[in-house]
């Protein structure tokens, strides 16, 4: 009956569903280096800030209004909001808000945003069940490893085909994390992964709409429910990931199974996670970084005659908008990004608000920015020169922008970003308390001390 027109079925795939189930259920608690442990805290903290920051966005409002039609039980916190809802709905809404500003973490090898689906599911379940912070960090590391390893197996074909890979691998990471949290055994974990495999969420066509952030939310919800079902004896194929009509082969022609097994349990994909310093597409991050550095060198907007950029071709292709009219258009304007960086020393969600994008001072400066395509400049780099009215020329070259793997945000910079996101929603006092709770999460006896802080 097989009439496949795409690449032939791989009937000799290794049993990766079983392998991952054994790994997730059996790996030791905190079975990794201090660096991995610290990165897990950074990932969690960055995710939490993004989710709280978007709590009052209209996407969150629409999602909550729909969820309230189910009259949900108050089991888990909607981060940054007063309402509690059932844990599956909390996973959904927190997954949505964490990706709404496009400001969350990025596993650069696959451009998966892994915390959205995994942390949203894990924290909601942990809050319901009163798990410890240790349990949550373990579930987060292992869940993200599952999602990103399956991503590595299929990237780039799967993404090129049109799948929004965050939501189409995230349900596996969420299922793995929740299975771990529920202490499911190897076989039940295999079933949880299997049930989740039937539920990828996400098309790239949705970019620019609320359904883009819905993807990690939907994946979080699907993964959480898959683990609950498996815990109650629901069954799935034990080869749901690797079989010829299983997940990977159905949604990707690339099937690099070794990406699941290589260094499993010793290399952790969360090590390759990065955090955006600027609330816009990554392609203009080097330019903004350079302008922030100009500001740090004492350059003031009123001194500037001209800012000259030499950029990779993609920069103008994707973010070449000269005269953005509102906040959203500002995210697609390297000119605006540079002006914000030089004036404010940052480019968070606030600097992409309508008010800032139309601020005459910002408009004046961005008209002084000129960009030239230079094919010798790499995507992660930029060359920027400030020509001042007094005739000086100040040059800043960025090889790797802040927020890249080579030049990660410091913990302090993460805290600054968190504050920018959370302070408008919960106030300064809670920013401090939540920050402390996040850095010491692995020592928390019960995560409900943290989630209680995340409500207004």
């Amino acid at each position: 009956m097989a009439r496949n027109t795409h690449v032939p079925a791989d009937t000799a795939a290794p049993p990766v569903t079983a392998i991952l189930a054994k790994f997730v259920s059996g790996h030791a608690a905190r079975g990794w280096s201090d660096a991995v442990e610290h990165e897990a805290h950074r990932t969690f903290y960055n995710w939490l800030g993004c989710a709280i920051g978007a709590a009052e966005h209209e996407a969150a409002g629409a999602a909550m209004a729909a969820v309230q039609m189910l009259e949900p039980a108050p089991q888990a916190t909607v981060l940054g909001r007063a309402e509690k809802v059932d844990m599956a709905s909390a996973a959904l809404v927190n997954g949505i808000t964490s990706h709404t500003f496009d400001f969350d973490d990025t596993h650069l090898k696959t451009i998966i945003h892994p915390a959205g689906p995994v942390a949203s599911a894990v924290l909601a379940l942990a809050e319901k069940n009163g798990n410890s912070g240790r349990d949550v960090i373990d579930a987060l590391v292992l869940g993200i490893d599952v999602a990103c390893r399956i991503g590595n197996t299929m990237y780039p074909d799967h993404y090129d085909r049109g799948w929004h890979i965050t939501g189409s691998t995230g349900m596996l990471g969420a299922a793995a994390g929740c299975a771990r949290l529920l202490k499911l055994d190897e076989q039940q974990t295999q079933m949880a992964l299997g049930i989740a495999a039937s539920q990828p969420v996400g098309l790239r066509e949705q970019f620019g709409t609320m359904t883009k952030p819905f993807h990690p939310g939907g994946a979080a919800r699907a993964g959480l429910m898959s683990a609950l079902l498996a815990s109650r004896g629901f069954t799935a194929s034990p080869r749901a990931l690797e079989a010829p009509r299983g997940f990977v082969q159905v949604v990707s022609d690339k099937r690099a199974w070794n990406e699941v097994t290589d260094e499993l349990g010793s290399r952790f994909e969360i090590s390759f996670n990065t955090y955006k310093p600027f609330a816009c597409g990554i392609v203009i991050h080097p330019s903004i970084d350079a302008c922030v550095q100009l500001r740090e060198q004492g350059v003031r907007p009123e001194q500037v005659e001209k800012i000259e950029l030499r950029v990779h071709p993609l920069v103008l292709e994707l973010t070449g908008k000269k005269e953005p009219q509102d906040g959203l258009q500002g995210k697609f304007s390297v000119y605006h990004g540079c002006a914000a960086g030089l004036i404010f020393g940052r480019a968070g969600e606030e600097e992409f608000s309508d008010a800032v994008v139309t601020d005459p001072r910002v408009v004046e400066l961005r008209r002084k920015v000129e960009a030239t395509v230079d094919r010798s400049v790499r995507e992660e780099s930029v060359q920027v020169a400030a020509l001042l009215k007094d005739g000086r020329r100040i040059q800043v070259n960025v090889d790797h922008a802040i927020g890249s793997l080579e030049k990660p945000l410091s913990d302090q910079q993460l805290e600054a970003k968190f504050g920018q996101l959370v302070e408008p929603v919960l106030g300064e006092r809670k920013v401090r308390a939540i920050t402390d709770a996040c850095w010491s999460l692995a020592r928390a006896a019960d995560v409900r001390a943290l989630t209680a802080l995340c409500r207004p």
Copy 2:
């Protein structure tokens, strides 16, 4: 950035998301022939019987145990069970039970089982909101039209690729049906379809596990939530179905857009829906039908020397198990099916129980069944001869098995099937009451009169 290895993107696709949204939101209530109207009632009735019949199956028990962990509000009936749950969970569980016995309706052009996702979502929402039976039938016809037309657009490539097409088109049908029920306008309906497009549910690898019936349930849930989200202003791509990185192009190389638009609003896909008389794979239906006919001609098991079948090759390939050991194996044995047909005159779920499959009387008769492959016999046909101990030979040739489009189950036969499924769960009195309520559904002022009958 596009590195697609599969067929090139179709950038000239017609706006099928908008076309279907206009159709679903704008088509007149009961805007079809009496035949379509009657088929809608038959589809609903058959679906309801299947769902109630499997209410106590272990898959239903496991799903309910997981759902109860959400402490759901008692909004909607779990068909055949005492518990009520929130409407989204009811859609999930009723979708699961309706497909658990593999006994539900089949749109033969695509082998979609359309009622599972569509009716499960629509009835749960209608019960919550107190809609009329007229509203439900309208939503069912339109929702099934959407799911099956998208199925026609992609079949067979999408199915061959490994998608379980019932769940990977069903979320669109469920979203359409629920959008209609909520009286969403054209634009909101377009958003509902768009949100649903990101959530296909189903891999063929899951066949033989509980996740197979999970697919229509998950699709029902996803479609219902998509409509609720759209009703609250959640947005999606207006071209989510047809864009190069939209649903159809991502999951299928076949994109016969005319299948969406041809005769839209005058030809209804529910007209091509069929109902199984026997609780097993369709390939052995002709053989069972023939043996039921032998019984009707007076042949008794104790008279039989031998039963000779001439069958299409697929019959032995898929259902050639000579000595099935339990109920499930019985479904893959044409020998058992024939014995059940001759002894009981039927082959419902009960005749595929462990008890019947191991009954010595059944075992003795099925050992007298011999099957020969004959390439001149078509898949929907069979030639059967009973050789009796008195030397007589009685021949029955079946061109089209009962339950096919050419020889559909009569309403009376559907009622007999319904009784077999529902009587053990709810008792004989309710069988009669629910049957009456289903045949007159379009005249019911409030569907809650019907759902109240569906609880023990």
